[in-house]
Amino acid sequence: MIRLQDIEKVYHSDNGTIHALKGVNLTVAQGEIFGIIGTSGAGKSTLIRCINMLETPTKGSVIVDGQNLTSLNEQELREERKKIGMIFQHFNLLSSRTVYQNIAFPLELAKRSKEEIDKEVLHLLELVGLSDKKDQYPAQLSGGQKQRVGIARALANHPKVLLCDEATSALDPQTTKSILELLKDINRKFQLTIVLITHEMQVIKEICNQVAVIEGGKIIEQGKVIDIFTQPQANTTKEFISSIINHNLPDFFKDIILSPTSTAESNLILRLSFIGHSTEEPIISSMVRRFNIDASILYGNIDHIQTVPFGTLIVELSGEEVALQQALSYLKTRELGIEVIGYVARNARVAG
């Protein structure tokens, strides 16, 4: 649905040139919710503005629904933009227009008749749950309600793509949740392709299928959300993920001496990560029974990335040295992520 090829963007200003995008390639499939995450200044705002050509790329091509936007003239580009909806961090509603008139605005631009506009706007108001606010002005609305108006306005011309520029960054967590729910609903209902940029991993986790991490004007990592969450490669990605999923060892390991090799008198400390169905299997208890060892859970966390459960456990296993090694091999045959953190002397700490 969207293909960005070798996008480069260079800004010239009096204080020198800024290379905002350094060769970005992205493909977004129809019906996907594609998230782009990055810190401020990473180039994500520029990138999303290249998709509807609010920013003209210095180099590269932007293809939306088979149409190469970089080759169009002003007039043709305006027509194409009517098929791409956009919502903003600060909503950008017209303060002099009522809710109804704001939603009608893109329809007026598309030269639709009064009757068509009326029908469409009332329908959209219902979709975003603001039918009772239609004659109010934006100043009378809360942030969440303003964004709902923004969404209704963006959907008015039945776009093929919806661009979300930090759409929830100015909202509180609860409102963020309801707006994300609404976006997810719309995505399902209309098979609408959504591209969003954000600096909050939580947003990606809640609604995206695909994610790209942008840093210094380049995409440094890209893939399915579940893969990126469970196996992040780049440091920046790990940092983003650590804001919601803890990959670090709990603090109490700081004072414990870990050895990489096993001795007769040591316990094994493991980190296990579970994805999907393996979270439902009683792996630990069957291992304990089978090899006659003890397991204590030092740290645990189970989360959902949309509908897929995803968990991390740090366990300490104690028992015969041979039994521990057998248990380890057994775990390796299961569908689990395993990381041996190390061995500790049996009396180094009281497991708990």
């Binding site: 609010l54 027509e79 661009l163």
Partner: protein
């Protein structure tokens, strides 16, 4: 006060009102588009054209920095060309308008600059043309500020119109000088001043009211 004086007062009041209304209308007619061009041609705006912007900016500044009394005399040839004479109420309208056009332009410029660029960007994202952005976004969003600016312009014009007496433009200011000052008629002086103050008050209140009505922020 004699009947004669009263007639004179009414006539002067009408002259002032007429001069101010016509020059206010002309300056709005030309000043608003000029202000729009000044904003939209700045760097990064919807009709970016920095050289045009610089030239217009310089002209506006030049016109604004010329003292009105000098401007009035300096453009007498232009006035003659336009109205056929350089004396009288109609003749005064020419310098009044020329002085007020750049004033309105700057006021409209600053009002339009207050419109959040994000809203313009949103309109662009919806496929609005520059013309649609100007008529459907910039002007409606800045209207309360533009109305206040025009109010200020009219009040300035009431002040300037008093000077138009110097070229036989008539009006209350002229009356105050000729009768109140030169003929030592303190009562006339007082009455004209009171009328001028009342006029300004009415214009300001009306402007404030309209601007408030339009403001939905």
């Amino acid at each position: 006060m004699s009947q004669e004086m009263l007639v004179l007062l009414v006539k002067s009041l009408w002259e002032t009102t007429y001069m101010v209304a016509v020059s206010g209308f002309i300056s709005a007619l030309l000043g608003i588009p000029l202000g729009i061009i000044l904003v939209t041609t700045t760097k990064g705006h919807i009709l970016e054209n920095t050289s045009l912007n610089t030239v217009l900016g310089a002209i506006v500044n030049a016109a604004r920095s010329t003292p009105f009394i000098i401007l009035m005399v300096a453009i007498i040839p232009v006035t003659r060309l336009l109205v056929g004479t350089s004396i009288g109420t109609n003749a005064a309208i020419v310098p009044l308008s020329i002085a007020a056009i750049p004033f309105v332009a700057r006021i409209v410029e600053s009002a339009l600059k207050e419109v959040d660029y994000g809203v313009i960007e949103a309109a662009q994202a919806m496929g609005a043309s520059p013309r649609e952005i100007i008529t459907k976004v910039l002007i409606p969003e800045a209207l309360p500020a533009i109305v206040l600016g025009l109010t200020l312009t009219i009040i300035s014009l009431i002040g300037y119109s008093a000077m138009a007496g110097a070229i036989g433009g008539g009006g209350l200011g002229d009356l105050a000088i000729r009768y109140g000052y030169q003929r030592f008629r303190a009562d006339i002086m007082l009455i004209t001043v009171v009328i001028l103050i009342a006029q300004v008050q009415i214009v300001q209140s009306t402007g404030d009211y309209l601007s408030n009505r339009l403001n939905k922020k």
